[in-house]
């Protein structure tokens, strides 16, 4: 079957509405103190949900083959490796050691 097969206009519209709502949500939540660094988590989580919606629906990954999923996953996973390694250094700089 052809990659990126048909997704309905209704689905697109629903995703569009969700994306706008999530934008409003993330903007609103930013002004509320969620305590204990949760604001950061919330902002990132909402952004991830938005990105996933765009990828799955607008970019047709929902109806694509496994190779496409692997390429998408690899890109983000590799970025995590870079961020993870760098942050590991920064966040352990003051750890007790020799």
């Amino acid at each position: 079957m052809k990659n990126g097969a048909h997704i309905s206009v209704r689905a697109y519209a629903a995703v569009f509405a969700a994306l706008l709502a999530l934008t409003a949500l993330t903007t609103g939540v930013a002004f509320v103190d969620l305590g204990g660094g949760l604001n950061n988590v919330a902002a990132l989580a909402i952004a991830v949900v938005k990105a996933v919606l765009v990828i799955l629906y607008f970019m047709h990954v929902r109806t694509s083959d496994r190779f496409t999923w692997i390429v998408v996953g690899a890109g983000f996973f590799w970025l995590l490796i870079l961020v993870g390694g760098v942050m590991d250094d920064l966040l352990t700089r003051n750890w007790p050691g020799r």
Partner: protein, 543 residues
């Protein structure tokens, strides 16, 4: 005989435009071959000046600032304009479509664009060289590169930035080609290990190079706009630069060695007339090297201010990455056992590779050991280690491959006796150049200095003497290979009796590689079978 009048990819049309506007992967391979050979000798020129300076303990040939430029330009030219492109863009381009039974790569025009991008990047860097060069080391550490150096940093990083896209597009092309264009019956585990090696290399091209690009772009922006991201005086952290730089530049060394390992697999199998022992292990080891290779970059930063915790993690992971390489060495050696071994020039390079790569790899483990690294970091021990891999490993593999596939690419045989002699000269010259450097480093001679204490002179003289022998070893193939284009014996389809789809078509091949699409029914290196039992060319023609 009609051999001279047969049409093939070299004589199908003539003229500069037919070469500069070609989309034939085989012609593009030649464009790269000429280009990378040029850059190799430019880098070699800088190396010559370095070794001349280091004949004497005093800094008496060039000033210190000039010496800094010499080792920088040597590194930049060799790494970015020779080692990284060489095997993939020359042999990978030429062979991958043929090895999988395809007519070309997935994106031939993108392939040509890759070469032009490479050349444009090279021109920027040559311009920077002509204008006085760069003195930051090929590693461009900040804040020296981003603020204090008075040399042409911006111009050089633009050149490297541009050339990086050549790599990225080549890697993209290879991945898509290998996934989508294999001939019928050519399943993944029937592929030659050369193809696996380039697939693994392409993963690194695609996921690593962009990080180098953005890092160098940030350095350029810092220089031009005075940003301060890496300036400690303004809250910046130079160690961040090092993280970003080495995230690419460590996997880059696997870009340089994996293709060479792919060549060695092909050559060892052919000149032992045996299947590679543990084929699947070697294939997975290639992927393992590529993936684990992305997890170890901090071992270049043990003493730069990285946290101890990070140092420990990177040290452990660096030990792990040695395992797949060791698996390959064991498997190549096991392939030789009870094989019918012959010692043609390509095999001499391969055998040399195994020995030299083992030394280089083992010394890598020394360097991965935190305590030992603190002692030898930034000494000639490190210089020796990476030259054992890059010159002993990558370059010797490259030369072995050029010799092995020369008859296929040109339809001519090179002079075998001379080639074996050159291989021996390379091997001897190489070891004489770089082994003394292990000793020098251990004794404490720092790298990147144009003067040294007098007690190190004897070893330095040995090293420089070795370099002059090595130079002879490199010039010889340049001469006799060019000579063979006109005067070499005409080669048949398969002068080595090797197994592989590339040997089942003419030498030189027709533009479309195969007259009909082959079907493959056996895995690679089936030396116990005849080619007709493995590769089936039916009646249906594909154009």
């Amino acid at each position: 005989m009609n051999a001279q009048r047969r049409e093939h990819y070299l004589n199908v049309n003539y003229g500069v435009r037919s070469w500069l506007l070609t989309t034939d992967h085989k012609r593009i391979a030649w464009l790269y071959l000429v280009s990378v050979t040029f850059f190799f000798f430019v880098g070699g020129f800088f190396a010559t000046l370095i070794r001349l300076e280091l004949l004497t303990p005093q800094g008496d040939l060039v000033q210190a600032e000039t010496y800094n430029k010499l080792f920088t330009m040597h590194g930049v030219t060799m790494v970015f304009f020779f080692l990284i492109p060489s095997i993939p863009a020359v042999l990978g381009n030429f062979l991958i479509p043929m090895m999988i039974g395809a007519r070309d790569l997935a994106f031939p025009k993108l392939n040509l664009a890759s070469w032009y991008i490479f050349i444009i990047g090279g021109l920027f860097t040559l311009a920077a060289t002509a204008a006085g060069g760069v003195d930051t080391g090929w590693t461009f550490y900040t804040p020296y590169s981003s603020i204090y150096s008075n040399t042409h940093v911006a111009l050089t990083v633009v050149g490297i930035f541009v050339t990086g896209f050549s790599s990225i597009l080549t890697g993209l092309n290879f991945i898509v080609t290998i996934h989508k264009m294999r001939a019928p019956g050519l399943t993944w585990f029937r592929l030659p290990l050369f193809v696996w090696a380039h697939y693994a290399t392409s993963i690194i091209f695609v996921l690593g190079t962009p990080v180098l690009a953005i890092t160098l772009a940030l350095v350029g922006l810092e220089r031009i706009f005075g940003l301060g991201i890496f300036d400690p005086a303004r809250g910046g952290d130079p160690v961040l630069f090092q993280h970003l730089f080495w995230f690419y530049s460590h996997p880059a060394v696997y870009i340089m060695i994996l293709p060479s390992m792919g060549i060695v697999s092909e050559l060892i199998a052919c000149f032992s007339r045996k299947r590679i022992f543990g084929y699947a292990f070697v294939a997975f080891a290639s992927l393992g090297i590529a993936i684990i290779g992305f997890l170890v970059w901090g071992h270049h930063m043990f003493v730069s201010g990285q946290s101890v915790h990070a140092g420990l993690v990177f040290s452990l992971l660096s030990f792990l990455v040695a395992i797949p390489s060791a698996i390959k060495v064991f498997n190549w050696t096991a392939t030789l056992y009870k094989g019918s071994v012959s010692y043609d020039a390509p095999m001499l390079y391969s055998l040399g590779f195994i020995g030299v790569f083992t030394i280089g790899g083992l010394t890598g483990l020394f360097l991965a050991t935190l305590g030992f690294d603190v002692h030898v970091t930034d000494t000639y021990f490190v210089v020796a280690h990476f030259h054992y891999i890059m010159v002993g490993g990558a370059v010797m593999g490259y030369l072995g491959g050029i010799h092995f596939w020369w008859p296929k690419m040109t339809g001519r045989l090179y002079p075998e006796i001379l080639a074996r002699l050159a291989a021996l000269i390379v091997f001897l010259g190489f070891n004489l150049t770089f082994f003394p450097q292990f000793v020098l480093g251990f004794l404490g001679m720092p790298r990147r200095y144009h003067a040294y204490p007098p007690e190190f002179q004897v070893l330095n003289v040995m090293s420089s003497a070795g370099a002059s022998i090595l130079a002879v070893g490199y010039v010889l193939p340049l001469v006799y290979l060019i000579w063979s284009l006109r005067y070499g014996a005409v080669a048949g389809r398969n002068p080595w009796g090797a197994r592989g789809l590339e040997w089942e078509t003419d030498s030189p091949p027709p533009t479309h590689n195969f007259d009909t699409t082959p079907r493959v029914t056996e895995s690679a290196y089936a030396y116990e079978k005849e080619p007709e039992e493995i590769y089936h060319f039916g009646a249906t023609a594909h154009v």
